[in-house]
Subunit: 390 residues, 4 copies
């Protein structure tokens, strides 16, 4: 294995939604790549510009996590094989790794749980520290890959840490599970990464907590398909001074993702992150539509079709259409590994708060830095350069 | 008009292929924009980053040129209206500008002409200097928008200026018309821009001439459609470490362009410039197909369809398809105006030789600088910044 | 003009929504074709199999109608020119015909009107009979091209004519405008055609009225785009025993149509008619999605994208995708002319009730006859043969 | 198994190209379906309209054939598994059937063979009759699934059987392998089916032979993708009187098929059969382009993209685009089974010469009957009805 990385540190990756498709693909794929069964395709941190950067080695990553379901990882991996996401035979090859992670998965926090929030939070922290102790880890990165939550109603307790702590102390359910998990991680001094559009660390009170502890977080909503292409193409229109008149897209999603996003409250979270990109890049309001449609038949796959109508010289109308078709988990999993490595490196480098340098990975980059894929790439490389020379 | 530019200079734009669709759209569109009938959509140099750069103002551009056909510009403009490339009614609004340019068009150099090459060269130079004198111009930029030529056979006379001059002196037809025109421009100290994949200034002997005279040139083959999209998307695949397995595209072209490129020898020139981009960006060989097809029914429009098959994490196969549909002349014309302004500014700044900073505009950027649209954009902006601080 | 048709009869075409895009295109296009300015493209009844059938001639059609807006037809036609639906210059060429029809347009029945229903009905009947008398017509065909209505709540009065008459007599608003218009036409003994998914004649009580009077009606929802393609392709899958696993489509609509269908209640009517086709053809339940999206930028144009996932031999998954892009009114208008001719011919032939032979034109064919385009075509030709042989 | 069919007859299916992808899929898939491991998806003769028709049962089919390569079927089947054409695990399930067929494959006739043609012909006949005797068959159907041949130069010996026999007797190589095989089958009184665009039985002298012997043949070039869709959609345009202005398509083919068709001489055969369909359906000349491109990366899969530009009412331009993506062998194999059953039934019913009733299956239907899919379907069903009623 020639994965760039420094020897030594053993880093725990605690996955929220540890039995989901993304987490299963992450764990199985990590084992395959670390064992040399598969190349590093899809792993951004395996590219040349990351050579020599002070990132934890892939082989130093150890997996655990929590989930509200109890489907065994091995069974889930079989399903991903049948769906063509994992190569035939892979689950057998990595059975030991799956079993290893299976032993480190604990019950998650349900959205509609009766468990007092502080109890849930302490339980999660105990799970994480137990994991770290048991596996002799140098640290843990907590990454949210769980089902997208509805956006919770705004609450005054979200604004200041003091008020939030009081509310939790009084047993009031003011935080969704993703934010309880962010709280748990940050308070322990561990980085938190939100790969979903859920609330996670994106609350003023949690930013206050991160600053207080001096720990970084990153997010949100991994940019793995339609929005990735959009963030590459919109810059092209902008730089050529072509006038985007309307940009209409539809996302056909199967599997659990599609089913979850058939819930309008959850879809709203996802649509919010998808919608910002265009105006963020073009700098002007543009007629913009994004639909999400649950197509059970697609299973683990997703297809997006976008139609862009643009005006050129003298107003003549032209169009671009694209169709993107991919396996969602296969697109997400290597980025989860990248983010574990990068978030840990940021933590080691003493960074605190929202990691704007990681905007390249997200639809709604916390910490700012813009939506253009090219600028995000430049920003990421500059930051890695600083880490290296750092 | 709020087009960024410095007051004063009157710059001639001498168009090779002055009666073609691109030239007609350039002349008519320039008049419309300069008169405020149309916004500056499509003009890169009208974007904010070019504010305050020492570029000649749009309203200082004066048009002339040469062509082997004699269809009047006004008639050609009517045809472009019917094809939906120019807005209805525009030819009437800009009739004076068309008539003005009409008076400055001279017979071009035919590919199969019997005219001794040195006579043709001197005739063209006399046409250009006459244009400059008659219109009191501060200078002229020569831009090739003529039909794509076949790539001429390699000849030893292309290597050194001395040998080339001897060959021309002996009446040997060793240069295609585009290169004779490049010679004519460079010898006069005027910048030459090749918007086509023809040979133009792309010969060692002509690079020697440019260096000797101290005059810049730029090219080649304006990047206006499929290759533009390709140069934006290929970078996305590269930066995400996604493995492009095959990239297959077809270009349906109508009009004169389609008919000319139905000639395999001409198509070969175009296909050469289209083919370099992918490997140039991805850095590895990739199965790559580009076809060009003449579809007379499309008239002034072109459609490209590309299918990209790529491998993701653990080798899972995914795909991206896109269709681009646009009016070729409307995509090209504003870039011709940009290039006239930028090439003149380079000349004024004392630059000489291939302008690699203008790679953003071309499929096969002379002077190097790579094929990635984002890096080309950065390079262009840095250069403009240098011009400004100059 | 060589349009097949019998000499003589002057038939009124009373258009509900007479100032809309479809009606304006119908009136202007009819004038252009009748005058020989344009070929009969798009007119099904101009095809060879209709030669010699006893249809009223195109030049015998006279236009009137009603609408709730008062935009002049001439102005509407100008807008359709700008949108590229009508050829440049056409409104001037057919100005007399537009003015002629303009004089025959009366106020429509508003959806939210306070006018007692019987008053509205009698007013409409007086408008129609006045039109027929003033223009010396042999008869009138009433065709609904108005904005799609929401489906009204089911009501017991819809079941029997006696109950419906009592309700109307008591001033109860139990019928939407399209059904009041159907009532008005049928009671006068004039054929009614519903080109929209609105309720129209599709109520048991109105079927009873049609039978009583002995008058035919046809509908509903003109099949002009995505559903047309669907009804051609679904038969292909069925006959090749290919198993359609999912069929997902999105319709991007601009203009008034898009705006109206952004109202979920109206969209429900349209989605209902679109949804029946697949199961109707495939004979088995299939995962099927159709979305409608209002994209104002598209103006008079519409684009549909469909993705069909199907299983072949041994279950291997394959796909077909298509994009259809057209001008809605240009697709609909010639069919309106066809339907006027065919409905009148049916009336003359003594037919009564739902005209199942006209299923070829509709998404939701009243009278049955199935959804397969090929069977609908056969059925139409057989019926025309019967008309011809009399 | 509930496959419609009559009990009893054991029919040999002699496949030319017996080790190719289509043949391997046919043999493996037949075994899977006959054993009930897979449904009859893709088999036209398994549809309801064929119930009770006097077709040989699927379980009565026995496979043999010839090929110029010697890759074992089992190995080929493994490759088809990896390519996703055969389901994982299928080769093991049907290993006995593959081995059984393996034992009945003999060396084929090479295109560039030095073997005297009459020797090759007699050798093939001996192979076929040996197969029939050894397996106690009631008859054999010979089906050509071999690589597409170049179209041979026209020769006078192709015109009359007498001249052809003389030429063969004199050892002149006037027939390509597919025609030698057709000769061999027809002379033995066995039906011949050409699933490729090769010459096969399509020569006047061979039609004479078929008539003399009283044996049927069918072809040619299985309609499995782009052309299938084309033959469904072109009828839609025709019946709606929409004017197809241009129809441009590109076929990306991988695998052996793509490699073979990268040879322009072979591609010409395929392009000829593809090109007839449009004019055959539309009845008028239309600008029509079809390209074939070898994309090795696609392996056993093929993708076609077509763009149709059509004119509607008043000449307004609209478009339809489609992408078809499928596994070529999976599309072809069930049709090979259908054709074996149908050709044998025709033979039993005493039919002779080109079977125009089977045009539904072919791009270039021998015997005529037109290119419209709907009319071909009707013709097929009528014929099956006649067979049934005896």
């Amino acid at each position: 294995m020639t994965i760039a990385g420094i020897d030594g540190p053993r880093i725990g990756v605690w996955l929220l939604g540890a039995r989901g498709s993304v987490a299963t693909t992450t764990i199985a794929g990590h084992a395959a790549v670390a064992a040399g069964f598969a190349p590093t395709t899809g792993l951004v941190t395996a590219l040349a510009p990351f050579d020599g950067a002070p990132l934890p080695g892939l082989d130093g990553l150890v997996f655990g996590g929590s989930d509200v379901t109890d489907v065994p990882l091995a069974k889930r991996a079989e399903g991903l094989c049948e769906a063509g996401v994992l190569p035939a035979g892979l689950p057998d090859l990595v059975a030991a790794a799956l079993e290893d992670a299976e032993g480190e998965i604990r019950p998650g926090i349900a959205e509609d749980s009766d468990e007092p929030p502080l109890d849930a939070l302490r339980r999660l922290q105990a799970d994480i520290t137990g994991f770290a102790a048991r596996r002799s880890l140098d640290g843990v990165v907590v990454i949210n890959c769980a089902t997208t939550e509805p956006t919770p109603p705004a609450a005054p307790e979200h604004e200041r840490l003091e008020d939030l702590e009081r509310a939790l102390g009084e047993g009031r359910a003011v935080l969704p599970p993703s934010s309880l998990a962010a709280y748990a991680a940050l308070e322990l001094g561990f980085p938190f990464v939100d790969f979903t559009p859920s609330t996670g660390a994106h609350l003023p009170a949690l930013a206050e907590l991160a600053a207080l502890v001096g720990v970084p977080y990153a997010g949100r909503d991994g940019k793995t398909g339609e929005t990735l292409v959009k963030s590459a193409l919109a810059a092209m229109f902008a730089d050529r001074n072509l006038s985007v008149r309307s940009w209409s897209g539809v996302n056909l999603l199967g599997g659990g993702d599609g089913a979850a996003l058939a819930d309008p409250a959850r879809a709203a979270s996802k649509l919010r992150t998808k919608a910002q990109v265009l105006e963020g890049i073009l700098g002007t309001p543009v007629e913009h539509h994004v639909d999400i449609r649950n197509v059970a038949d697609l299973g683990e796959w997703k297809t997006a079709w976008d139609r862009i109508s643009f005006g050129g010289f003298l107003g003549v109308r032209m169009r671009l259409e694209f169709t993107w078709e991919g396996a969602d988990s296969a697109l997400a999993a290597p980025l989860v590994l990248d983010l574990a490595r990068l978030a840990w490196a940021a933590c080691q480098a003493g960074e605190s708060g929202a990691l704007d340098a990681l905007g390249f990975f997200f639809k709604e980059p916390l910490g700012g830095g813009g939506y253009r894929l090219d600028e995000q790439w430049d920003r990421l490389l500059r930051w890695v350069g600083e880490l290296r020379s750092g």
